[in-house]
Symmetry: D2
Subunit: 345 residues, 4 copies
C-alpha cells in the first residue's frame, strides 16, 4: 500500500472545510498535515474540528515548517495565481478550486508554472467526478443519444455570495463564481468548444440585499452556440433561496438525457392532503455533490501516487474562464460575443 | 349516431353525484332523465347542480313517471338486491356500485334476476377502466413480466366512512366498503382465484372518532394465497387523513410492475429548502380515477347501445364479496380461511 | 339544460380529428353538424369515424347547406384570415388554432372582423386549459413563488412537420408551428410582455430528411427579456424522435415551480437490472394535453351559450405572432431584437 | 487524532470484499491488517485487490501471527457463534454480519461471551446507518407522522442464494438470509416488538433452478401484528432478477412516509417513444447501501476508539432471529405463530 500523500490545505472557509472533511473522513490515501489561512478564527475552527495541529497564516510559513507533497487551494480567485505559482515553485502538486483565475493571462501563467516545475495541476470541476455526470458522459460518448444537439445546464444556489464574489471587478461575478461548472460541463458533454454566447441578466434582489456594485445581477441566462453547430443554455440564479439546484439535460439526434433532479433524499412524507407530498431538496452543494468531492480529491491523491495527469486540468479551467469573459462581455455590450474575441485566435 | 341511453340515477350522494357529473359533462351517449333518492335535501342539491327535472323518492315512482332504459345504483349495500331486482323486473339495465351485496345469496339473486329478465349487469369496478390499470393488465397478459408471483394492492382513504359502512353487520366493514376494488384487482391482475386468506386488523382511531361498534377496525392487512400458487397483499387504512391512495405492485417471474403513484398533479414547488419539494397528492377518489369513472359509464352506455355484456359483471362482484367474507372470518377467528369455506365448493 | 352548440369543423387533419373526437365523445354541450375539408379522403375518414353526415369541400358550401353557430378552424396558417373572416361575416363564432396568422396585419384583420360582427374569437392555446398549467398559473398569481424572475418553457415534438410548416415563407417555421404555445405561456405565467429576444438555431436533421428550404432549423433556443426585468427561455426541437415533451419551470423570488414532466402514464416496469426501469413517455400531444383539449372546447361552447368572451382571444394570439416574428428576425440578423421593432410602438 | 483500529477480516466473499473495500477506501480510522478465509482462491483475490499482506486459513492462526483489536465476521451463519466466541475470548471486538445465528441459544451464547470478555458486539444491520433510514427514523421518533399504525418493508434480491443459504436446515432460508433487515427495520421504525406473525410462501423458480431442498421458497409475505397493536408486512423475493429492491412505507395516525425508491442513479434517457423513459435501478445491495456500509463500519471503529456500545448489537440480532423462527414455523404449520412461542416468555 502506498504511503499517504501529505497535503497542505490553503483556505479554511466553506470549501476548504468541505475538502478537509472529505480527505480526513473518507480518503485514507491522503493526509492533511497543515492548514493555511490568514483568518485566525476560521482557521482554528476548522483545524479543531479535524484535529490539524499545524496551522499557518501563509503558505510561505507552511513551506518552511512542514513537509508535504501537495496543496489544495480554496481561497478567493484573485489569490489563485500567486498561491499556485508559489506551490509549484516549491514542487508541490496543486489542486485549485474553480474559477481558475480572473483572466486568461493568469490562467496561462498558472499552466506555465505548473508545467515548468513538473507538478500536477487539477481544477476543482467536481461534476466530472460525480457518479451521475460521469455515467452520463460515458453513455453520451458511447453514442446512446446520438450526436448532442442541445444542452441545458443550471446552477442555482441558495445564498448571497460574499461581497468579493458578486463584484465583476474582483471575481467576474455569478457567471464565474456560481456557473463555472456549467461552462465546463456543457463543453465536456457536448464534446465541442463554444463558438458564440449571448447573455441576459436580471437583478431582482440586489436592492433588498444592499448590493450596490455596478452591473450586479442575480439571474442569468446564457445562450450558447457550439462549434459543432449545437446549442446550449447556462442558467444561474443566486441567491435563489429554495435550495441548491444543479441539473443538466442533453438532447441528441437519437434521444434525450436528464442528469440529476431537484429531489434529494428519498424520504417522502404526506400528513396533509391539502398540502401534498413533501420530499427533501438538496439544501447545499456539499449534499448534492458529496461523492463528487470525495472522488475528485481521491483522484488527485491517486494521480500523485501514480504520477499521472489529472482528468480536469489547466486547459479545462482556461476554457471555463474564457466562457465567463465572453458571457460577461455579451450582457455588458448587449450583443452576441464570439469566443474568438476572447481567445484571440 | 345512436340515440342517447336514458338513465335513472338511484342515489344522490357522493358517488351518485360523481357518476351524474361524468354522464352529464362527458358522456354524450348517456342522458340522465331522473334522480331517485329518499333524502330530499341531498337529492335536490344534486338535481339542481345538473339540471335534472325529474326527481323521485323511490324507484317505483320513477318507473311510473318517466321513460328510461337503465339505472345507476349508488345506494348503501343492503339496498342493492331489492333495487337491482326491481329494475331488472322492469327491463332496465343495471349499473351497480360495489360491493355487490352483503352475502353470496344476495349476489346470486341479483345475477339470477338480471339473467332472467335479460338485462345487462355491470359492477362499479372502475379500476378495470382506469387507463393505467388497463394498460398494466394488457401488458401482464402479454407476458411482459412473466407469470405473476406476487401482488400488493392498497386502498387508503382520507375520511371516516358513514356509520352503516363501518359496522360489520350492515356493511361487512372496510374490507367491503373501501377494499372491494383490491379484491377484484388482485384476482384480475394475477389471473387466478384466491385460495386462502389471513387477515390482521387494528383499531387506532375508533375511540377518538367515537366509533363503538363491535370489531371496528381502521387498518387491515390481508395475506392472500392464490390458486396459481401466487401470493398477495391487500392493505386498507381508513380514515388515513393524508389523501386518497390506491396503488398496485406486481412481481412476475420476469420482472416488476408498479401501477399508480402517490403523486397527483405534476406541479412541484419549493419555497423553503428546509421544508423541501411539495407535490400535490390525490385528495379524493374522484381525482385519482376521473377517467376511470367516465370510461366505465361510457362502457355501460355503449354495451346497452351495442347489446354486449359489460366487462365487469356479476361474477366479478360475487368473487369480491366472497373475499370480503373470508377476510372478515379470518380476523374474527384468528386463523387462515379458505375461500372454499365461503364458496362451499 | 341549454341546447347544444352546433359546430362546423373546418379541417379534418390531425388537429381537426382530435378536436372532433373531444366534442363528439366528451362534450355534450357541443354538436358537430358538419365537416369541411377539400381533401376528400382525409375528410371522409374523419367523418366516418365520428358519424358526421354533412361533409363539404368549402366553408361557403357548408354555410349554404347546414345551420350552425360556430366554427372550429384547424387548417394551415395562411388560410386562417380568409376562413375566420368568412365565418365572422356569417355570424359564426370562431375557434381558431394557433398560430393565429402569418403576420400582425392578418392578426389585426381577424380581430377587427370578429369585433365588427360581434362573434366570439378563441385561440387554440390549450395550455391555458390544462389542469396543471391552470393550477400553476393560479398559484403564481396568488404569490406562492413570489415575483417571477425566470421562466423556461419547451416544446419538443416527435415528427417532422409537413413541408408548408417548415418553410419560413409559408409558416414562420418551428417557432410558429411548434413553439406558439411557449410564446403564450411564458407571457401568461410571467405576467409581463416580452421586451427583447435573442435566438440561436441549428439544423441537425434537415439533410437526412431532405429538407432544403432556406433557413430551415430543427433546434432553437430563444433567450427572452421581459418588460418586468425577468428572463426567459423558449426551447424547440422538432423532430426530436423521443416523444412529445412540453414542460415549464418558473423561478420567483420566493421559490421554484415545475409544471409537467417527461413521464406519462404511471406504469413502471423493470425486467432487466442492466437496462433499468421503464416508464411511458408522452408519445404525442393529444396524450399529454387530453384534458386541455376537452376543456378548451368546452370553454368555447360555454362562452357561446353564456355569451361571455373566451379566456384566450385575439390579443393573446397577436402577441404570440409578434414573438415569433422577433425570434425569427433575431437569428436571421444574428442580433437581439426588440419586440417594439415588430409591434411598431 | 486517534490511531487507526487494526481489523482482521474473517470471510473474503462478496460481503467480506464489500466491507474490506469500505474500510480500505473510505475509513481512515480503520486499518485492515489481516484476511482470514479457508477458500484460498477467493481470499487471495480479495487480498490482492486491497493489498492485504497477512492472509490466513483460520482465525486461530491469525491470532497467533498479527496484532489487531477487532474482527469483522462475514462467514456463513453456522460459523458465527464459534468465530465470535473465539474472537471475544481473545479480547477482540466483534462486528458480526446478519443473521446473528441459527437459533436463540446461539444468540444467547454470543451475547454472553461478548459481555463476559468486555468486547463490543455490533450486528451488520446497515439500514440503521443508511442516511435515508436514519432520517426517517428520527422524523418518526419526532412524531412527524404520529403513532405508527402500519409498516411495509421489502427486500427483493436479484440472484439465487448459495445452496447453504436456501436450505432451512443450514440457514433458516430466505426469511433469514435475505429478510433479516426487514425484521430489524420494522421493529425499529414501529417502536414495538412483534407479537404474532403469519407467513405465506411460494416456490416459482425452484424447479428451473434445480433446487430440491424441502420447503424451499422464493417468494414470501409475512403479516405482522405488533405489541403496540400496529400491523406490518415483510416481503421477500429472491431471485427476482429485476434488481435489488429494498424499500419501506410507514403509515402513522398523522400521515404516510416512504423510504427509498426503485430508481437508482438520476440519469434518465429516452431514445424511443414507444419504449419510454429508462432510469437505472439499483442492481445490487452494495449500490443501494453504499453509504450505509461505510457508516456502519465507521461507527464500529469509532465505538472502539471511544469505548462506547454500538447502536445495533446482540439484542437487535436476537429479536431478528426470533422473527425468522416464528415466520418459518408459521408457514410450516400453516397458522399464525406468537413470538412468545419462540421467545418462551
Amino acid at each position: 500500500m502506498k504511503s499517504p500523500v501529505r497535503i497542505c490545505m490553503i483556505g479554511a472557509g466553506r470549501v476548504g472545510k468541505n475538502h478537509t472533511r472529505a480527505i480526513c473522513h473518507h480518503i485514507p490515501g491522503g493526509k492533511v498535515v497543515a492548514l493555511v489561512d490568514p483568518m485566525t478564527e476560521v482557521r482554528q475552527e476548522t483545524a479543531l474540528e479535524f484535529g490539524i495541529e499545524n496551522q499557518y497564516d501563509t503558505l510561505e510559513i507552511a513551506l518552511e515548517n512542514v513537509e508535504f507533497e501537495a496543496v489544495v487551494i480554496t481561497t478567493p480567485t484573485p489569490t489563485h495565481l500567486p498561491l499556485a505559482a508559489l506551490a509549484a515553485q516549491n514542487k508541490k502538486h496543486v489542486f485549485l478550486e474553480k474559477p481558475m483565475a480572473l483572466n486568461l493571462l493568469e490562467c496561462d501563467a498558472i499552466i506555465k508554472v505548473a508545467g515548468h516545475y513538473g507538478v500536477l495541476l487539477q481544477l476543482g470541476f467536481m461534476r466530472r467526478f460525480d457518479p451521475e455526470f460521469v455515467a452520463a458522459a460515458q453513455r453520451i460518448e458511447a453514442g446512446e443519444i446520438g450526436q448532442p444537439m442541445m444542452i441545458k445546464s443550471n446552477t442555482h444556489g441558495p445564498g448571497l455570495p460574499p461581497p468579493w464574489a458578486r463584484d465583476l471587478r474582483t471575481s467576474n461575478g455569478m457567471l464565474a463564481e456560481v456557473n463555472s461548472h456549467d461552462w465546463d460541463t456543457t463543453r465536456w458533454l457536448m464534446g465541442s468548444n463554444i463558438k458564440r454566447v449571448y447573455t441576459e441578466v436580471a437583478n431582482f434582489k440586489g436592492a433588498a440585499n444592499n448590493v450596490n456594485v455596478p452591473h450586479f445581477y442575480d439571474n442569468v441566462l446564457v445562450n450558447l452556440k457550439f462549434e459543432s453547430g449545437g446549442l446550449g443554455l447556462i442558467s444561474g440564479v443566486c441567491p435563489c433561496g429554495y435550495g441548491y439546484d444543479a441539473r443538466a439535460e442533453i438532447i441528441g439526434d437519437k434521444g434525450i438525457m436528464q442528469i440529476g433532479e431537484l429531489k434529494g433524499q428519498s424520504v417522502v412524507v404526506c400528513t396533509n392532503r391539502d398540502q401534498g407530498l413533501i420530499t427533501p431538496i438538496f439544501r447545499t452543494w456539499p449534499e448534492r455533490f458529496e461523492w463528487a468531492y470525495i472522488n475528485e480529491l481521491e483522484h488527485f491523491v491517486t494521480c500523485i501516487q501514480d504520477e499521472k495527469p489529472p482528468r480536469a486540468g489547466g486547459v479545462e479551467g482556461r476554457f471555463a474562464v474564457a466562457g465567463v469573459l465572453a458571457g460577461t462581455k455579451s450582457f455588458l455590450e448587449e450583443r452576441p460575443v464570439y469566443l474568438k474575441e476572447i481567445l484571440g485566435e
